[in-house]
Amino acid sequence: MKLAGRMILDKTFTTLTALSVLLLSVILLVVLGPMIYRGSGAVIFRGTVEFRKMQMGLFERGDAEALDAEIAQAQEVRDAVYRQIDEFRQGIDTEELNEKARKIHREFGGELRSNGITGDEYSELRSLTKDIRDKLEEASESQDKALIRRNIEDVLEHQDDDRLKGTLAAGFFPLAANFSKAVENADLAKLSQYTEAIEQVEDILRQLFGPKPGEPTPALARMRYGATRCDQAQILLGKLLWIEKWVQTEPGKPLEKIKTPRSEQFAGTPLESLPGFVEKNLAKMLRPRLTFYWQYFIDDSYNSHYFGGVGPEILGTLLITVLGMLFAIPLGLVSAAYLVECASDNLAVKIIRMCINSLAGVPSIVFGLFGLAFFVLYLLPTFGLPSQGCILAASLTLAILTLPVMIRASEEAIRSVPQTYKEASLALGASRFRTFVTVTLPAALPGILTGIILSLSRIAGETAPILFTGAVALGPVPKSVFQPTRTLSYGSYDMAVGDRVAMMVPHNQYGMVVTLVVLILLLNGMAIMLRGRVFKKLQGR
């Protein structure tokens, strides 16, 4: 009995330990999986004609003639949508209608006079157009459908009047026709609501297709183009098809999202079919195509990363990392060599070791404070340089931060070189220095390389130390090491929390962080593989 209990406990324990390790793998997958999946959308996606337009406009990339042809084809279908809206708007805009009717009547008089028509005929025609104008006005201000129909019919009766043909007065008839078409089945009480609804629709269309042809080009690059990606277009289409409202269904409960079809808003009008038409013809209007946007990694960005890529960020990260390693590698290597080859176990070495361990434990934000206080506020002004965060200060700060990693890895690598190598070299009469440079160092090189790669990845990913010493969220590409730069790490932070525009382009948000993560994982994978080979070599010995 008791034994059985103990065995069950033992099995439970074993399962628990296995589960804990499984949990780690699951965490790794959960953290990386969605990020990489969504981040890859920044590079591989279904790009629309707007994307190609943007590429041409901002980066001068692509085939201009083919693009123009494509735009023309898409524009043909889009024009149908715009035309429908314009006609409807003219129909329901009673003020504009009255205005136009009055204008036609007024100018018609002038036209008659200039045509030399006077006397009875003149006054007859004038009273006729006045009559038409009044009828239109009456109809447009009325809520009574029967009256409207009668008046419109009366007006349209004169359509075949030869005296009006070819004159300004002929302009009355399209007005009347548009109006009658618009209000035929519409709910007249809702006329004013239509205007608002049309504005919403036009706003969505502008986001989908960019500004209408003929409209002035907006100053902001991100307003100049429509939906550049298929996923974006689908979201906008959803907004076009459905109206979202947050409604409180029961008191005390959180608001609930309720969707109603937009076509209901236009029930009975010619626009009722518009959302459906856009949905059906979206592909013709946007012409999506699978796009591999590798230039994401070299392009500059526009409007807080709304368009473009992460080129300057990658450049900044590389600059800071390489410069930092230029300081960290010699210092770390020499320190490690001293600790292994020269040092006995005296007090000085104990202090050095303690300091290395303490350095490894200093919080990264304190490195940032130190970099600010020492490099930016003290050292740079001492050398007569502007006291601002810059690449040099950031990389020096990071070099100190990574020094312990570098020292420990190199120390281990140097220590693992078999004593017999060194002894053989010394026995041949080589000095200790020579032995170290020509025998120990080459043998330890793979291990040291692993350490270097690990330090690299540490530096590239750190954010807190460079917050005040050289990273900016937006800014020009640096021209010297005395200027601040954008980096992938700080950019990822900024896009995750600081940036409103970034929220509209999740693919770019994820793209930035995934670029960083993939860069670092590649470096680490390299280090792991390199170490595996060293390990095998040592085992084979």
Partner: protein
């Protein structure tokens, strides 16, 4: 042919005949060079010492100004942190409490999982599976903190909010979970080292007495390796306390002590996040600036003493396994 060449040959022949004999000047030169070289190497090796010294010097130097206008006791004993108010208030209790709160919560997640995983890696699993699991842990450690923060804000926070109905997804729980994930690799690798360093004798003695694997683990191995495990926990704690980006992005940044204290779904603010969030907009030589550097000093002292504690336990662990 010419004179220089012939002297060289002469020297070389002399060298082959008397390989070990050096003239006094050569001897002296070699002695001086060797010692000079050593001195230079020593100086370079001291970079870390100098760096630590400079870090303390400059962070403390910038914080001293705070003591001229405010009292250190008030800083450490009051709760209100209103640097923009008139007069400004710098009471850091809530912020220090936030740091400790998040750290403790993350350790509560990380320590049990970490020790179980360490036991799994050292005592249970075959070498081949170990070779697969180790890189997983290393990759977890390699993911940059800002990427974890990104995950916390954009993926975990909405999930927590939806799933548990918290008023906000960026809260102490979110930060603790991510910090636990970040502390796990440290805890696992140090604990595993110390557990597997114990050797077979202890375990075999325990098994031969009829103990199951679990009993061996909990009654023999872990008590014997307790120094190393404590060191692992302390190192994980250092990682959690010093972490900046994750807590800045995920903890909600409200300078308050959770009330009631066990309500982990409230927002807190930590020392690191306070520095990171406020230093950017703070002009130099204001009391706010000094106060932030004072917080840096606190952090530095805290991690430095934790480091000494961990070193103490690590050396004890080393001694213990040396004896066994």
């Amino acid at each position: 042919m010419d004179k220089g060449n012939s002297t060289l040959t002469l020297k070389r022949t002399a060298g082959t005949f008397r390989p070990l004999a050096l003239t006094p000047s050569e001897d002296l030169k070699g002695y001086i060079l060797a010692h000079l070289g050593r001195a230079v190497l020593f100086l370079i090796a001291c970079t870390s010492v100098i760096a630590i010294f400079l870090i303390f010097l400059f962070v403390i130097r910038e914080s001293v100004g705070f003591l001229q206008t405010e009292s250190l006791w008030g800083y450490l004993s009051k709760t209100g942190w209103y640097p923009q108010a008139e007069p400004a208030k710098f009471g850091s209790v809530a912020i220090i409490a936030g740091s400790l709160y998040v750290t403790a919560a993350s350790l509560a997640f990380a320590v049990p999982i970490g020790i179980l995983a360490a036991a799994f890696l050292s005592d249970i699993v075959s070498f081949r599976i170990r070779a697969v699991v180790k890189p997983v842990i290393e990759l977890l450690a390699a993911i940059p903190s800002v990427a974890y923060g990104f995950f916390a804000v954009l993926i975990l926070a909405p999930f927590l909010q939806k799933k548990f109905g918290f008023p906000t997804g960026t809260n102490a729980l979110n930060a603790s979970i991510i910090l636990a994930v970040m502390a796990l690799p440290t805890i696992i690798s140090v604990a595993e080292d110390s557990i597997s360093a114990l050797g077979r004798e202890l375990r075999e003695a325990s098994y031969s007495l009829g103990a199951t694997r679990m009993e061996t683990m909990f009654k023999v191995v872990i008590p014997a390796a307790h120094s190393g495990i404590i060191a692992a926990v302390v190192l994980g704690m250092m990682r959690a306390i010093g972490e900046t980006m994750v807590v800045w992005m995920a903890s909600g940044n409200a300078a308050q002590i959770p009330h009631p204290w066990w309500d982990i779904s409230q927002s807190v603010r930590t020392m690191t996040a306070t520095i990171a969030g406020e230093m950017g907009e703070t002009p130099k030589d204001t009391s706010h600036y000094y106060a932030l550097f004072m917080m840096g000093v606190l952090l530095l002292v805290l991690t430095f003493s934790l480091n000494i504690v961990s070193e103490y336990f690590l050396s004890r662990a080393k001694k213990a396994t040396g004896r066994a």
